[in-house]
């Protein structure tokens, strides 16, 4: 029963038992819920008023129906895959029975992309592009922030490249990637194109914010560093990075948001596998269910973007020294 006497436990206990705490929680969830309710109602009302060439605009109920349809399709595809490997195993057994030395053909299953496999592809692509961009942007941003000369060199370039739309990069990236011989280790060509486009667009917010954060270390702390005669490396680690962390994360969160938006657009335009392609295919498909499916996809894109941002926020809370500073 030691835990019951721990001060943290008492704090926890008093926090949770206080009616004030519960009231606050209740109020917050009520507010969140009412926001969602208003949205669904508006959607329902508006959808009944809109007629499109593909029939009536789907409301929440149709979207929900398509969602379960998409889940079913995914499960069916899974079963097909399981059955394929099952058959292959049986064939192997038969071959071995006929001739123990027989060569066994191992055929991979060619899965048809489902909604969920497209989600996975998109997430993999966005994270790869974002991580690569961050690996370049953070160190470079630190260097630029530390040296005003480097800042002068890079600032015009950053200002020039930052506003370029992903759609403008796409043809260039596609041409360059298709001219380079890619080994299998890199994955498919379209994956590389998507990753590069995401990288090029999500580099800048992190780069700029890191540079600004690093260059805005308070003079007082720089004086401490000088008086203690910290080496370059320790100065960076002990003084510069901790004070730049909030700005770096602001940049990272902006970058990740941009990366996600850019990726969907790039997938639509370049027909690269992913959620964007799913939306585009449904649009081209033009069946009566397409609009509902697109609605589902749009909502999922929003939810995933939100989840990615939460992920960064959690990471920021882990890394930042000031736990109270990070809120929303």
């Amino acid at each position: 029963m030691k835990i019951l006497h721990h001060p943290a436990f008492h704090q926890w206990q008093s926090q949770f038992s206080s009616t004030l705490f519960w009231r606050k929680q209740l109020k917050q969830s009520l507010l969140t819920f009412s926001g969602l309710l208003v949205f669904v109602l508006c959607w329902q009302l508006a959808s009944s008023q809109i007629q499109t060439s593909l029939g009536q605009f789907p409301g929440p109920t149709q979207a929900a129906a398509q969602w379960s349809q998409l889940v079913d399709e995914y499960q069916a595809e899974q079963q097909r895959e399981d059955a394929f490997y099952q058959r292959q195993l049986e064939r192997h057994a038969a071959l071995l029975a006929a001739d123990p030395q027989a060569e066994l053909p191992n055929l991979p299953y060619r899965a048809r992309p489902t909604f969920f496999s497209q989600i996975l592809t998109s997430l993999q692509t966005v994270l790869t592009g974002f991580v690569l961009a961050s690996l370049i942007a953070i160190p470079l941003g630190i260097l630029i922030g530390l040296s005003s000369n480097l800042y002068q060199v890079f600032n015009p370039l950053i200002q020039l490249f930052k506003p370029i739309s992903p759609l403008a990069w796409l043809p260039l990236v596609t041409l360059i990637v298709s001219s380079v011989d890619l080994s299998a280790a890199w994955g498919s060509r379209s994956f590389v194109v998507s990753v590069c486009t995401v990288m090029l667009c999500s580099l800048w917010p992190t780069l700029l914010n890191t540079a600004v954060g690093v260059s805005q270390v308070p003079q007082d702390l720089l004086n401490v560093s000088k008086v203690l005669r910290l080496s370059w490396w320790r100065h960076l680690r002990i003084i510069v990075l901790p004070s730049a962390v909030p700005m770096i994360f602001t940049g990272l969160r902006l970058s990740l948001g941009i990366a996600w938006m850019v990726l969907i657009a790039a997938e639509m335009l370049a027909q690269n596998p992913g959620l964007g392609k799913f939306v585009w295919d449904e649009f081209q498909n033009g069946s009566s269910n397409s609009l509902s499916r697109i609605c589902v996809a749009v909502l999922v894109i929003g939810l995933l973007g939100f989840a990615l941002d939460r992920l960064m926020l959690t990471l920021q809370r882990k890394v930042n020294w000031d736990k109270s500073a990070v809120s929303r």
């Binding site: 004086n223 000088k226 008086v227 203690l228 005669r229 002990i238 901790p242 004070s243 000031d322």
Partner: protein, 281 residues
Amino acid sequence: MQKTHLELTQVGISFPTEKGPFVALQNVNLHIKKGEFVSLIGHSGCGKSTVLNIVAGLHQATAGGVILNHKEVTEPGPERAVVFQNHSLLPWLTVYQNVELAVKQQSKGKKTKAEIRDWVEHNLALVHMSHALDKRPGEISGGMKQRVGIARALAMQPEVLLMDEPFGALDALTRAHLQDSLMEIQAQLNTTVMMITHDVDEAVLLSDRIVMMTNGPAATIGEILTVDLPRPRHRLQLADDPTYNHYRHQVLSFLYEKQRKVEDLGSKRAEKQQQKTQASA
């Protein structure tokens, strides 16, 4: 006390500002002996911190120079420690880590882990901060932060201790205690101390000499008062001492008669008003 060990010769500094260079200090000459305790006193904004920062090596004098142990001061060095006016603790390190950083940096691997721990704790105990070793600066009061800043500087065992209003944010009791500790440490280690203060009593009690600065811009040393009171000094005994009160009076008269700041502003305003009335007439 021996020969000159810290020497400021014709020190001047001008800061580049948007309205052209701003001359903050001019012709500052000061010779300080080893183990001497010198206070800098003067009105706010006259340039006391700037003098200290030049000696610390954080600012470069634009005229003249500072010589410490026969070497020109161009950058911070291990023989000097600074207590900053606004404590300047690293907010992401705990009280203990803030002091430990300085100790580690100063000992450069010459101390074992246990020795470092002992030394950090000893210095924090000296300023009565043992109860808050694991608190962050954001969680302690201004006076507590200042005490940690003092502990950090003391823990570096400097030859020259530079202090910018070290006791400003402290209550009278803690302040008295720390003043006594400082006198003790200084006597023991023969540390040279340069301390900025606004408190006349503190200046007289602690100092061998009080350097009184004129108002800026282009501030310089107005007068230097040698405080010839025997050490160790006890605040209670000194309270009724006529020599002590004589010194106090001299500093006060410098500050409030010869370098009256408020009066200056008042007379300027009067002048302006006069000009206005003349213009309208």
